[in-house]
């Protein structure tokens, strides 16, 4: 069920983000969600894209260093309290969220969020049991 995330190592140098975004654009791939983790020295650019394997190939051929990580994607009603509900469920079961970020694309009714936890399967099981909609790879492609 988990969703594939691209993690790209970005040195804090001019033009690095240009290389990344350009090569994804040239491969005809859409970015659905993104976030950046940064330190003084480097950053890690995380992306959810329409075709992660193809994107990885394109990025690597332009000299980027990429790894693929499995993350949990949830689709929740776009209304107050939705995210709080998800976070509360995970807290109740002692599942820590390492990081999370939202999708760029929003439908009229729903918002999508990426969650990074230590144990994807456990988190997914609990979320399903509590009535939270999970995203599949195919959902992302068709967004």
């Amino acid at each position: 069920m988990a969703v594939k995330q691209l993690s790209i190592f970005v040195e804090n140098k001019e033009g690095k983000l240009v290389t990344i975004t350009d090569s994804i654009a040239k491969a005809g791939i859409d970015i659905r969600a993104m976030s950046v983790a940064d330190t003084q020295e480097f950053g890690i650019f995380r992306l959810i894209v329409t075709d992660p394997e193809k994107a990885k190939e394109a990025l690597e051929s332009s000299g980027c260093f990429v790894s693929i990580t499995q993350v949990v994607g949830v689709s929740i009603p776009d209304e107050p309290g939705s995210l709080a509900k998800v976070v509360n469920i995970l807290a109740r079961y002692n599942i820590n969220i390492e990081y999370m970020y939202a999708f760029i694309t929003v439908s009229k009714k729903n918002a999508s969020v990426v969650l990074r936890v230590a144990d994807n399967e456990a988190a997914e099981k609990i979320l399903i049991e509590n009535g939270i909609n999970l995203l599949k790879e195919s959902d992302i492609t068709s967004m």
Binding site: F9, E11, F42, I44
Partner: protein, 427 residues
Amino acid sequence: MPVEDIRKLQSEKLVKQVKYVYDNVKYYRDLMDEKGVKPEDIKSVDDLHKLPFIKKDDLREAYPYGLLATDIKNCVRIHSTSGTTGKRVVAFYTQNDVDMWEECCARAIVAAGGTNEDVCQVCYGYGLFTGGAGLHGGSHKVGSLTLPMSSGNTDRQIQFMMDLNSTILCCTPSYAAYIGETLKEKGYKPEDNKLKAGIFGAEPWTDEMRRDIENSLGIKAYDIYGLTELSGPGVAFECEEQLGMHINEDHFIAEVIDPNTGEVLPVGSKGELVFTSLDKEAFPLLRYRTRDICVLSREKCSCGRTFIKMTKPLGRSDDMMIIRGVNVFPSQIEAVLLNCGYAPNYQIIVDRVNNTDTFDINVEMKPEDFSDTPKGITSKEKELQSAMKAMLGINPKIHLVAPKSIARSEGKAVRVIDNRKRLGINI
């Protein structure tokens, strides 16, 4: 002492030292036999060129006792320098060796104007490093009041300097500059302290740095040169002329050679400095290649001393760097990387910011260490930094970069970028 007398004295001592070494050190005996030289062939300093060279590699190979010329029970001290792949160079001293060394350091202090009325603050490191022990012993010989501060703890250094009226400061030039800046920050003016002179060595520095230190501390700053292998600081020292360092020629013979051919060059030529000890008992060295490039001068010095003078080292004939006063070889860094499972593809970047050396190493990360969070990488950087610190004795800043991102050059890889050159520092 006229030059002819110096040569005569050196010749007498050299004949004895060569025989002593040949009789007592198998390693040397083998080297000399291999070259077909017998002690009888050495009758004066003119025969010096017949002797084989000894190199740092020999010292490592002979570690720890291979070059020891006397029974261990006659030795009273060791000192040591950092070395590659975990092997250090260890030098042994008899009491006479320590006395000779301290005498050399005492001359450096006297040349800087020191007397038994001075208060000599020694903030070179104490321990295996020769800086602290050498100037400490020299200060005792002069009869100065010695403050054995060792390095670091700048607030305490300043407190003692002010409360106990230090007149002579002994440390690395970069630490002297740092003390100067700290004094200024604390609101002291150069005339507020009682310092009159400083004896600074163990790392490369420029005349510009000398002026800065002299202005900030209100002193005259003197250079000092030495190597642990030969004794420590005090092999050569600067006089009031502040133009080159007098070599203690009654204890050491200096030659300058072409580093490629080994040929002895005439005085005044630029080449690699080679030293022969004349009085050492525990760890005598014949024709030791220092790898320091410099120029010797016999020109008359206004101070009245007739000992030959050497310039500051103008460079190295090997790839050794001196960073924060510590000798660092790229091969040491390579050894740590291989030990820790990294590709030996790296880049060392050295610079000097606010009179302190910066030391950065870019290393390609292992693909399996990269994930989606920075903490994996930063913890690997810390791990590698500790391994480097254990090998080098100083802390580099490690930057893990993407695999294959450091350019692989065809021929000789550019592993070291030393930006201190732009400051005119001879490295």
